[in-house]
Symmetry: C2
């Protein structure tokens, strides 16, 4: 098989399906989602058997245990895929929503209608449940999906793809509305991210190296998330009880997540008050602290932070701490080191809260809130395909709306321009 | 001068200025716009003299008269630049607008705040008034502009740039908020469209070949407009009086514009009624008609349209006409040949109007309205930097909002995730 030809043919089918999706109603999309859920349930034995083949191959290849764990489709994970599908079915349909329809001085009525982006290419790694998760969000938002999972999950993904096709067919939707790339050849990714004629946007879901490689080589627009180097700044006007809880929760609620705090900035006026209490709490949780010079003067028994620490997403129980002169000093540090994901100020001061919200240019900017809330579900999006650290098109948690565009609609009554 | 180093330094200054712009208020931006207008007025003699140098060089180089005309800054065009600045100053500030601020079940309040994109690179050709037009829209939307005009307008653009810098300085804004690239070396464009570290978006304003070249080579996101192959479909349920007026206005109001109709699609049921009347009106206006086979059977004395005609943006008094079986046939033609700019259906039938609005995937979709209304001013945007035929980020007429992004803001009261 010539990979380029295979991908082009797949793209052509996707584009044709995306035109059919434009006239498909909410009920058909929901019926398809629920039918896919039913087929997943019915085909559990097949899916588990195919997943076992992937697991065995993975073990033979010596994949590390963490990767094998992500690869496994336990009964609970299949349940959760089924549950996810019915959740997405229950969300309201974003497509066709008309907003801002207003009369203009000429007499025409102008508004915006929400429409699908078209064809979305999703590239991901080992977890086969991402196949269902991505397919359901694309489908609900009227898009066509081309899914390219990791080669280590090929059998599992194809077994899931069969359920998807059966569900689409049952609901009368084009079966090419979701295509799972069959070849595990790397060239397929190169083709997918450059065939601008057939693909409207690429969403890579995986580790940083995957995302960097795709962003570098893509000709299609990429909605991406790179680092999550999130900061909490404790102001000297903070309520120290809130500050303590937020600093602790932002770091220790979960470690391996992009919205965990990686650097704590503390106003010098309250550092001596709050840092020793925090040190005790962090130490109890097993968090390693690395401090700036001034922090070392306040806290004993911690290591010095290097310049590299300020630019590191630990994704681990490690926290760097810096004492700053004031809010402006904190903002300067954030501008230099943030990945523009999520930043929080803890303060009771109205003017500072307002200033911080305005000038910090991250995808989420918070006042008196744990950074762990930066999440599509917490923001009320109902679902999340990822968190974008870009400014173009979609920013922060990306839900169904992030997978759509808006076109202008104009209603007249024979209006002509004079 | 090494072009790469020059552009990198310029980019670095732009990025620094864009951080300063984040804390600048509406009044300062408006003051700057009005001060620039005043300096343009005061420096008319200098601007005219510099423009004369460009014109003389252009004549010596043998530039064609149409290009020389676009290059000339007549007193009326300087007036219009001044007027444009005060119009943009009078628009409401898009930045800082908070929308959808809602309480979530957890108790946090989540909303979106409109923010500048950052640094916008604008690449344009001969018309020096685009310098002011682009600078004013970027400035008003809190962005920093890097402007790269055509080499044939270099003296004019630099004279205008001096006024811009004086205006920015007077209003206390960073002078690097608008930089006009001084080198006319082509390499500067190549650098501008690839320095993703310093530039957030590129807006090319000019002919198709310029835009295609930039889109092909850019690494920065491009907001672009390619063709305007716009269609009007006259349904058999149309009010033929409205249809006549719309078909005439869409084609003949102006020829060299992207929102002019290039192909007229007519339902076979009304073709014999309306086409002869339209032929007479078009002929009076000097419009050349090219028809499909069925059209040739209805209209005499017109030439046959070739396959190429359906894909051609004439930008001239030429119109291709096709008789179609029904609305679905019209939509099929539009899907195959439209540039996704603007399409209109003329019908009195509710169901067809609604279907056409839903399934035609162009940046503007109209019912009973001349395509000539597809314009930022007519849509109430107050200004327009261009019309995007892309689906990502900005679509159709792009006004101030199209030059912005939104970040999430989260307000809490010590909320932590449990």
């Amino acid at each position: 098989m010539i990979v380029k030809d295979y991908m082009q043919a797949l793209g052509e089918r996707a584009r044709a399906a995306s035109e059919l999706m434009l006239s498909c109603d909410s009920a058909s999309k929901n019926n398809a989602l629920l039918a896919i859920a039913r087929f997943l349930d019915e085909d559990r034995a097949i899916i588990t058997a195919e997943n076992a083949r992937d697991l065995e191959q993975g073990k033979n290849k010596g994949l590390d245990p963490a990767l094998l764990d992500r690869l496994e489709l336990t009964p609970a994970r299949i349940d959760s895929m089924i549950e996810g599908l019915s959740q997405v079915a229950s969300l309201s349909d974003p497509i066709g929503e008309i907003t801002d329809l207003k009369y203009q001085p000429s007499g025409i009525q102008v508004g915006k209608m929400r429409v699908p982006l078209g064809v979305i290419g999703i590239i991901y790694e080992s977890r086969p449940n991402v196949t269902i998760d991505s397919a359901s969000l694309c489908l609900k938002s009227g898009n066509v999906a081309i899914l390219r999972g990791g080669s280590e999950a090929a059998y599992s993904n194809q077994a899931v793809a069969v359920c998807i096709r059966k569900g689409l067919a049952e609901a009368g939707l084009p079966q090419d509305a979701v295509q799972v790339v069959e070849t595990t050849d790397r060239e397929a990714v190169g083709e997918l991210i450059t065939m601008t004629k057939y693909v409207d946007v690429i969403v890579p879901r995986g580790g940083k190296s995957l995302i960097e490689r795709i962003s570098r080589d893509a000709k299609v627009t990429v909605i991406k998330h790179l680092d999550g180097i999130c900061h909490v700044y404790i102001d000297d006007k903070a309520d120290l009880e809130k500050a303590f809880n937020i600093a602790l929760n932002s770091k220790t609620h979960r470690y391996g997540v992009c919205n965990a705090m990686e650097t704590l900035l503390v106003h010098e006026g309250v550092a001596a008050d709050i840092l020793p209490r925090l040190q005790q709490a962090y130490t109890e949780k097993g968090v390693e602290l690395r401090g700036c010079e001034r922090t070392l003067a306040v806290l004993s028994g911690i290591v010095a932070a290097t310049e590299e620490d300020w630019d590191t997403e630990y994704l681990a129980p490690i926290l760097s701490i810096k004492i700053v002169d004031d809010m402006h000093d904190a903002i300067t540090h954030i501008r230099a080191h943030s990945s523009l994901h999520t930043e929080c100020i803890v303060t009771e001061n109205y003017t500072r809260a307002r200033h911080f919200l305005s000038v910090v240019d991250s995808s989420s900017v918070m006042v008196n809130t744990s950074t762990r809330f930066a999440d599509g579900f917490q923001y009320g999006l109902g679902a999340e395909i990822g968190i974008s650290t870009d400014k173009i098109h979609a920013r922060g948690p990306v839900g169904l709306d992030g997978l759509t565009s808006q076109k202008w609609i104009v209603l007249g009554d024979g209006h002509i321009l004079s």
